[in-house]
Amino acid sequence: MSFWNDPLKVAADWLLGIFTGWGLPEIAANILIGFLGVLLLISVLMLVDIFLVWVERKVVSRFQDRIGPNRVGPFGLIQPFADIIKLIIKEDTTPSGADKVVYNIAPMLSMMSVLILWAVVPLAPTILGVDLNIGALYIIAAGAIGTLSIIMAGWSSNNKFALIGAFRQVAVMVSFEIPMLTMLLIPTIFAGSMGMGRIIESQQIWFVFLAPLAALIFLIAAIAELGRAPFDMAEGESELVSGYNIEYSGMKFGMFYAGELLHAFTFGGFWSILFFGGYRFFGLQDVSPFLAIAVIIFKAFIGYWIIMWVKYTLLRIRIDHMLGFNWKFLTPLAFTLLMMTALLNALLAGTPTWIYISVMFLSNILLAWIATEIARSYSRREREKVEGSGAAPVAEGVHH
């Protein structure tokens, strides 16, 4: 077993030899090695996060027909470090009447809720924090802590705008959690396990070909969970200035901002793990774990890029439309899709693979088509009700 095949194991064995050589008992040495592993993962993630600031600013500027950061360093690559220095030396303000302890804990919880997600991300067949057999539920649990951090930030700031922003964001997160959890169950059905490792290992065929609709619904729910456009009415610059993080300055704001960027990147990663084969890419993952890491990071960046693409292209949706979209369209659709997938999976057990794949794929497309047709006829009826009444459609519009 060489370093290039299983780097984590080799490094851990080497460290264990050193620590026990110092006279530490083996259990203490193992705990210490675990801590070092977590420290390494978090440090790398924070470095990636700094880089994400640059990526985000470059991509948004391209979508808006600008050049973006281009002064500090080649292609403006040093820009995020300048941003961080600015954030650190800024005055750290606390609004009067703020609930100080809660106010200070909220940014930490926000960052933490993103970082703990990486405990279950398998970066390569042998490189993973822990292969929980409840990995899919764990993602939702980490999201619950994120929700809590937002409501803590909004409440403790003693600011009406912050509180309204937090209310909106929490309403969105709590409702879009349901289609997201439902869609997490579909790879679970295919793989027969909620563990991320098993889900990746069973993707001989990427799950997106078995359930394209599920991949789409998961992406929509993930964007809503992130609070990014078009679901960013929690931020709503034109009405709420900045939402739940309005009172935060300096690095505390930086924690929310960096947390949001890393969260988007992480969900890009989960999208690729659940539906696009994670680190699998035509056998590259078996050549070297480092290639596997490169593959999964590349796929995560593609997911992140799509999330950015949506963010900088679409307009903000009104909150009642968005909640209506979730409860009246997305949730029933997700439940129907889950039932259909479970039923077909049981009925098609033992059939040849190509029949299984084509029936799954076609049923997804059919369900998507039926759902769109129902939504279309409903909106046509609604429009006729408003336009057909003839008398004073303006007043009707105000009434709604």
Partner: protein
Amino acid sequence: MTGEQIVFLLVALFTLGSGLMVVTTRNLVHAALWLVSTLFGVAVTYALLSASFLAVVQVVVYIGAIAILFIFAVMLTRKDMRDQGAQQNPNWWVGALLSVLTFIGLFFLLQGWSGMSTTATAIPTGFDAISELGTALVSPDAFVLPFEVASVLLVAALVGAVYVAFNPRKGDFGK
């Protein structure tokens, strides 16, 4: 004392301390936040018992849904959110008495139980607790009936909530 026992004692202390803060803090939102940390302590206890499914469900349901609902309810029903009302209601001694009696009862009950003094057998390697739990929930000779009854109860609660919120005179929500 083994490392596991030390961790358990720390977690238990944290959980009980947070629980005490829930009833003694004067600020209702703080009480709700301490409740979150109590529930989190319980989740850690589940994790220590290798019940990872229960631990995660504890976080999803209690912290992600119920605690958030508590905080919302406090925020929507109180005029001043830095509420400094009376700390305890006049019946506090009844509650204290009942909890002491419950503790004594449980203490003697568990002392007489043989499971307290025997060491649990180790979980066999490769034991998949979550699939065992899933099978038990839907198998007819295990828990399918209680499971379905609980589901019906939840649906009834949902229908009831919709009925209460629905205004037949106006024909739709919030219009």
